[in-house]
């Protein structure tokens, strides 16, 4: 009995179990406090959709054997550049979203390629180097945002300052472009159809890719590099491919995130983006070496839902920005857990 229990525990995984329990307890708490359930459910769906693509970006990196992609901010910055360009030329609606994608994806391919080359030279230390490469590029880009020759008055400081604003509204461009697409209500719960469909579409693409020849090769290269080499797979090339895919998904992910959020946040906005995404996929049951689309869906749903329910709940019980603290403790705690329980090695 005890053995079966521990086996079941192993299968579910401690992070998933704890966050799942939190979610149940919080939901019961919310019901007792009579918080508006329909609003919470709508929020859960939106928050799931807006974060899921960024979490999805972790998959190719983990599968290619480079671990959690803490260099995610690189892709995020490519996405932001795409968005800024789309706004500068005053595109609006769906066109602006497509222009942003069109600009950022090639940029992300290039960035991912260079980043992949770099990661191939530092095997075994990808996570810490990636973190600091990400940090330094984000802080270097702060100078770019300050000096870049953009002129659209929506984006630059009105007077007294130079450079782009910290937060840029997307009202005139692609605010809620996916969220509102085919959106409908079930009771009082709003379903952001376009957002969920877009995510499903990306999942499908990734699924097809993983069934393809290069997808298989990438998986083998990631899980057993020596064996892959003996099969004639070019491991380094596969790692670059994984990094490129991850960076592109990060760029797309931040655009999806921003269109739902309604604002771009530049400067230090992307600095810490990688950690919640990494935490989400780990909560879903992934490890540093194994990740599936299922992990992304479960993990993002659990993590974001807990946060959605927690924040009004904490506001009722205690004062202050307690939900932010809660988020930080969970996301860093989960990453620490994954780093210190290397059972897959």
């Amino acid at each position: 009995m005890k053995e079966r229990l521990t086996a079941a525990m192993d299968k579910i995984g401690l992070p998933r179990l704890i966050i799942g329990l939190f979610l149940i307890v919080f939901c019961v708490g919310a019901a007792i406090l009579k918080l508006p359930m329909s609003m919470l459910l709508s929020d859960m769906l939106v928050r799931f959709g807006m974060n899921a693509v960024l979490v999805l970006a972790m998959i190719p990196a983990i599968r290619a054997g480079t671990g959690l992609n803490f260099g995610l901010p690189l892709g995020v910055i490519c996405g932001l550049i795409g968005a800024v360009v789309a706004i500068e030329y005053k595109f609006s609606g769906l066109t602006s979203f497509l222009v942003a994608l069109g600009v950022s994806i090639p940029l992300a391919v290039l960035t991912g390629y260079l980043y992949g080359l770099l990661l191939n030279r530092i095997k075994g230390q990808e996570m810490v180097v990636g973190t600091y490469v990400g940090f330094s590029i984000v802080s270097g880009m702060c100078i770019f945002w300050l000096l870049a020759p953009f002129h659209n008055p929506e984006m630059v400081w009105a007077y007294g300052g130079t450079g782009l604003r910290n937060t840029i509204t997307l009202e005139s461009s692609f605010d809620k472009i996916l969220n509102n697409f085919l959106a409908f209500n079930i009771g009082q719960v709003q379903i952001p159809t376009g957002l969920l469909l877009f995510f499903a579409f990306l999942c499908l693409l990734l699924w097809f890719f993983s069934r393809s020849k290069s997808g298989m090769a990438m998986h083998v290269a990631g899980s057993n590099p020596r064996f892959a080499q003996s099969c004639g797979i070019n491991v380094n090339k596969m790692r670059i491919l994984g990094t490129v895919l991850s960076t592109v998904l990060a760029a797309v992910g931040i655009l999806v995130y921003n269109q739902s959020y309604g604002f771009l946040s530049l400067y230090n906005g992307p600095l810490m983006m990688a950690f919640p995404a990494a935490a989400a996929i780990l909560i879903g049951g992934a490890s540093l070496r194994r990740a599936t689309i299922g992990h992304v869906i479960i993990g993002t749903f659990l993590f974001q839902s807990v946060l959605v329910v927690a924040s009004p709940l904490f506001n009722v019980i205690v004062e202050g920005s307690f939900s932010e603290i809660f988020r930080g403790i969970i996301s860093n705690g989960v990453i620490l857990y994954a780093l210190t329980t290397g059972r897959e090695e």
């Binding site: 810490v128 973190t131 490469v133 000096l147 403790i329 780093l339 210190t340």
Partner: protein
């Protein structure tokens, strides 16, 4: 004759190789020396002001950087988790401010209170890092982030509600949580002023603090010669060989982190007594980042760090810190660009140093 010539040629080539090696080692500090020079040229600061600032920083910062040395020697890389040591120091300060223990006594009491906390935090960090061998740096970094949120939880939500504490100077008007800034008037510059020499108007030397820093430099040098110090070095060189020769590797690694954390706690005390105000939720956040960047700018690597590199790195990094906002404002008309630049330098230096190290390590394993 021929043999002599050969010998000579060999000697000279050995010499050039040695010079080249030294140059490569010194490349990073030299680069930053040049950067500082260019910055100083554009900043046009008065020399008295500049020298005063540099001396002040050379007194208050090196101990935090020194705290990093022993984990590096132990082969654990940069201990980004010295954030926890800084927190231990701040706990001491919060308690003495609460009980209004002032002056140098207050500072000493704070150090006394901080030490057991630092030992405990160091022990926890060490335990954790032993479970993540080969991934120490990323783990210590994430642990630092984690601890920062626990700190916020504790002092923002628990103090005043679960832990009874009433003090208008410390607690927010709602009765729960510490204020964002805490005035440390009671101990402000109590160590600096113990023995301070004013050279000219606007230039004074906090001799007492400098002496404390010097004392710790000497202590660490001696410590590395003791049995435990030698064990730490052995573990750093090769864990397997150390284990075979009978060293309890895990235990030695925990000791290394405990020492590092305690030094960081005291370092944070020295830093904050000079600053004079505690930013409750911010003072400790960047401690790890700036200390690591300073050490690397001094020419240290992830596996090798000396006391001279600590001093040189602190000097260069903080000179750049003083100069870059002013230089940025004079060059582009915006001080913010200098701010961004120095943060970029801090992160960038760490990225490049980690990159070079990982690259070398990977290249050497590939050769084998």
């Amino acid at each position: 004759m021929m043999a002599m010539k050969l010998e000579l040629a060999k000697n000279s080539s050995v010499l050039t190789v040695r010079i080249r090696q030294k140059l490569i080692e010194m490349a990073v500090p030299l680069l930053f020396l040049v950067l500082c020079g260019i910055g100083a040229y554009f900043a046009q600061l008065s020399p008295v002001f500049l020298i005063n600032e540099i001396i002040m920083r050379m007194a208050r910062n090196p101990l935090l950087v020194l705290a990093l040395i022993i984990p590096v020697v132990a082969g654990m890389g940069m201990n980004f988790a010295i954030t926890l040591g800084a927190m231990a120091g701040q706990i001491g300060l919060i308690i003495i401010t609460h009980y209004e223990i002032n002056g140098i006594t207050g500072l000493l009491v704070a150090a006394l209170i901080a030490t057991p906390f630092a030992v405990l935090f160091g022990y926890l960090t060490g335990k954790l890092l032993n479970r993540a061998k080969g991934k120490e740096m990323i783990t210590s970094m994430i642990f630092g982030f984690f601890a920062n949120y626990v700190w916020q939880l504790f002092f923002l939500a628990f103090v005043g509600s679960i832990i009874p504490m009433r003090n208008e100077k410390l607690i927010l008007s709602t009765g729960v949580g510490l204020r964002n800034t805490i005035d440390l008037a009671g101990i402000r510059q109590s160590l600096d002023n113990l023995l301070k020499i004013q050279v000219v108007q606007g230039l004074s030397i906090p001799v007492s603090t400098l002496l404390v820093v010097a004392l710790f430099c000497v202590l660490i040098t001696f410590f590395m010669k003791t049995k435990l110090g030698q064990d730490i070095r052995a573990v750093g060189q090769n864990m397997e060989i150390a284990r075979i020769s009978g060293i309890d590797v895990d235990r030695v690694r925990i000791y290394a982190i405990i020492i590092s954390t305690v030094l960081a706690a005291w370092g944070q005390l020295i830093w904050l007594q000079n600053i004079g105000t505690l930013n409750t939720y911010g003072s400790h956040v960047q401690v790890g980042l700036f200390a690591v960047a300073a050490l690397l700018i001094g020419g240290a690597s992830v596996t090798k760090a000396t006391i001279w590199q600590v001093l040189l790195g602190t000097f260069l990094f903080h000179t750049l810190f003083i100069i870059s906002p002013v230089a940025g404002r004079n060059l582009v008309g915006d001080a913010q660009i200098g701010e961004f630049f120095r943060v970029f330098v801090a992160y960038g230096v760490i990225a490049v140093a980690l990159l070079l190290h990982a690259w070398q390590k990977y290249a050497s394993t590939k050769k084998l």
